[in-house]
């Protein structure tokens, strides 16, 4: 049953077997993807033809490694820029929302809070199309009535940023709120009592206190943006992001080049995940 209670052998081993299978199920697609990134074959599958780094570094006619593949490299660059912009902006907006709902009192607070949660339960596709439609409507309106063409309202880098921000901010807000809830306001009073001014209190006490939550929310926001497909699909202009570019390649047949990109993504996101988890573990007792 649980650690402290006795249980039968069959139950114990059966349970262990199930959990082991689960972990196998969890990791097998990732492991196989990584392994096949190093297979010396033109096709991502078995048999094993020997070890190669071609899919990373080659620059030949039939084998182009990741680091020479302009299409994917530029998509990666677009994704990185998007993710940086989205995570910074969402971090600011989400934190402000957390302060608003945790520390301020104003009329219609509850309905507004409810509204701020909805982006998490609206399917990403719908956020994508509704922002596309609204920006298009607004763009047409400005063009017809004032004859001005507003770049940002057409599918473009910044529209993607806005679209992703719309729901990633909610996520940031929830993470920061959770930490802010545990904040003892007496700490701020103590700082005031010791002679600090309001801005100093925020800079020296509140922000350092929120730091673990800000780092955690920021890195998850970065990944959510970097990997987003559903919302992005409808809002991109000519610059495709990496997930969209990969999707088009996977749909039209695959080469081990995709495994190589996947390998890089798996390794880097796992590292980021581990760093983030360790950091949050370290801050748990504060």
């Amino acid at each position: 049953m649980i650690r402290s209670l006795p249980s039968g052998k069959t139950y114990r081993y059966g349970y262990l077997l199930y959990v082991s299978f689960f972990y196998l199920f969890l990791f097998s697609p990732l492991l196989i993807t990584c392994v096949l990134a190093f297979n010396d074959s033109n096709f991502p599958g078995l048999p094993w033809e020997g070890f190669t780094l071609d899919w990373f570094f080659a620059d030949e006619q039939y084998r182009t490694g990741v680091f020479h593949d302009d299409r994917n490299l530029s998509a990666l660059w677009v994704s990185l820029q998007t993710a940086i912009a989205v995570s910074l902006l969402s971090l600011i907006l989400g934190t402000m929302a957390a302060f608003l709902f945790e520390q301020e009192r104003f009329p219609f607070k509850q309905p507004l809070f409810f509204l701020s949660l909805t982006p998490l339960v609206i399917p990403g596709v719908i956020l994508g199309i509704s922002i596309l439609l609204a920006s298009n409507t607004a763009g047409l309106y400005f063009e017809e009535h004032w004859g001005i063409d507003i770049e940002i309202l057409r599918p473009s880098f910044w529209l993607v940023v806005l679209g992703q921000m719309s729901f990633i901010s909610t996520f940031v807000m929830l993470v920061v709120s959770a930490r802010l809830k545990k904040f003892d306001p007496a700490l701020e009073e103590a700082a005031l009592n010791l002679g600090a001014t309001r801005p100093e209190v925020i800079r020296l006490i509140t922000i350092p206190y929120l730091k673990p939550a800000l780092i955690g929310a920021g890195s998850v926001a970065f990944l959510m943006s970097f990997e987003n497909f559903n919302t992005t699909l409808f809002l991109i202009g000519s610059d495709t992001t990496l997930p969209v570019s990969l999707y088009l390649q996977v749909r039209d047949g695959s080469t081990p080049l995709i495994n190589a990109i996947a390998f890089i993504l798996i390794v880097s996101t796992s590292l980021l995940a581990l760093i983030n988890l360790l950091a949050s573990q370290r801050h748990k007792d504060e």
Partner: protein
């Protein structure tokens, strides 16, 4: 030049319809240890927060070293506060916590280092500068919090029940340490607590507060020996209280249970026939008094011995009335034979019977 570090005049604070602090007046002498003692919800925290500047009063004045501080924000008042839960900054180490206030004053780092070292020395925590807050014990945190406030050399140090979170043994020890520390640094302490023993042990003056108003301001000894109101008599130390009627005013005598008469002391003007409360402290009751000793004598029936070491009490009923009374039972072997059901003669001196 006034002798007082803090003067509070006719201070009033309302929360909606509720009056939390009701026309409070007091003065705190320079370098003294002043306590405000009262049950929770009596308004003492509100009073303290007004002095610290976290709340503005609705009426009245607060003067620190002769200057009114009304409208002065908390970060500019020459008072520092030891918070109930100490509120040490968890993201900083001991030294950063203590130097926090000095840094706000733009004092050069070398001076700060010196001051931090010397205050750590003074509170008995040298070499603790680099420690993280969560590595400290309860008592050490206490001392860091005091060091953090004292290093700023405030005119007044306010303490908001800082011992409440400690366990009993440590609390006893910190009480003595706090008193010693205060005498050593000579800073005026204003201490609020609901624990009478803390207030009595440490303070030069204690104000007893109830329902937003001060009942009595006096030395600990006077509060105990000469309470001015029934609330104080009840709140300070333990007391037996009886409904009584004044049977004569000179000499002052009261009657309880319609037939028992006591010689007593009237604390307020009470005339013959008035209803009043008679208070008798358990420790003023003498068991088996000498025959010729002039005191109120009566017999009781033992119901129970409530053993509690030095605080052991006797629960008894007066005569045959069923009226309960508590008496202290000294643990000096003399009364070890007492059993429930036994009848005992007891006595109490006239001036240990107080009436309100």
């Amino acid at each position: 030049m006034s002798e007082y570090d803090l003067e509070v005049e006719n201070l009033v604070r309302d929360f909606a319809a509720f009056r939390a602090v009701d026309h409070v007046n007091f003065k705190v002498e320079k370098g003294s240890f002043f306590s405000i003692l009262g049950p929770s919800g009596c308004g003492k925290t509100t009073l303290l927060r007004m002095i610290a500047g976290f709340l503005e009063p609705n009426a009245g004045d607060i003067r620190i070293r002769n200057e009114s501080v009304l409208g002065v924000p908390p970060n500019l008042r020459p008072v520092n506060l030891i918070f109930q839960h100490l509120s040490l900054f968890p993201m900083m180490d001991v030294k950063e916590n203590i130097s926090f206030g000095l840094k706000r004053r733009k004092i050069p780092q070398s001076t700060i280092d010196k001051q931090v070292d010397s205050i750590l020395e003074r509170v008995g925590l040298p070499e603790y500068g680099q420690k993280k807050i969560n590595q400290l014990s309860g008592g050490q945190k206490q001392r860091v919090a005091i060091a953090r406030a004292l290093v700023l050399e405030p005119s007044i140090l306010l303490l908001d029940e800082p011992l409440g979170a400690l366990d009993l043994k440590l609390r006893e020890q910190m009480k003595i340490e706090l008193k010693k520390l205060q005498q050593q640094v000579g800073t005026t302490f204003v201490y609020i607590t609901h624990d009478q023993s803390e207030a009595l042990v440490m303070s030069d003056q204690v104000a007893v507060m109830d329902k937003g108003a001060f009942e009595q301001i006096d030395t600990p000894k006077n509060l105990y020996a000469h309470p001015k109101t029934g609330f104080v008599a009840n709140f300070i130390g333990e007391n037996n209280s009886f409904d009584a009627t004044v049977s004569s005013s000179d000499p002052f005598r009261v009657k309880i249970n319609s037939d028992m008469e006591f010689n007593a002391r009237a604390m307020t003007g009470l005339s013959t026939g008035a209803e009043c409360q008679l208070y008798i402290r358990p420790e003023s009751i003498v068991i088996n008094p000498l025959q010729n000793e002039p005191m109120n004598k009566f017999s009781v029936t033992v119901k129970n011995v409530l053993f509690d070491g030095a605080n052991t009490k006797l629960l008894a009923t007066i005569g045959d009335t069923g009226q309960e009374i508590m008496a202290a039972l000294p643990q000096d072997k003399r009364f070890d034979h007492i059993q429930p059901g036994e009848r005992l003669n007891v006595g109490v001196y006239d001036d240990a019977c107080t009436c309100f």
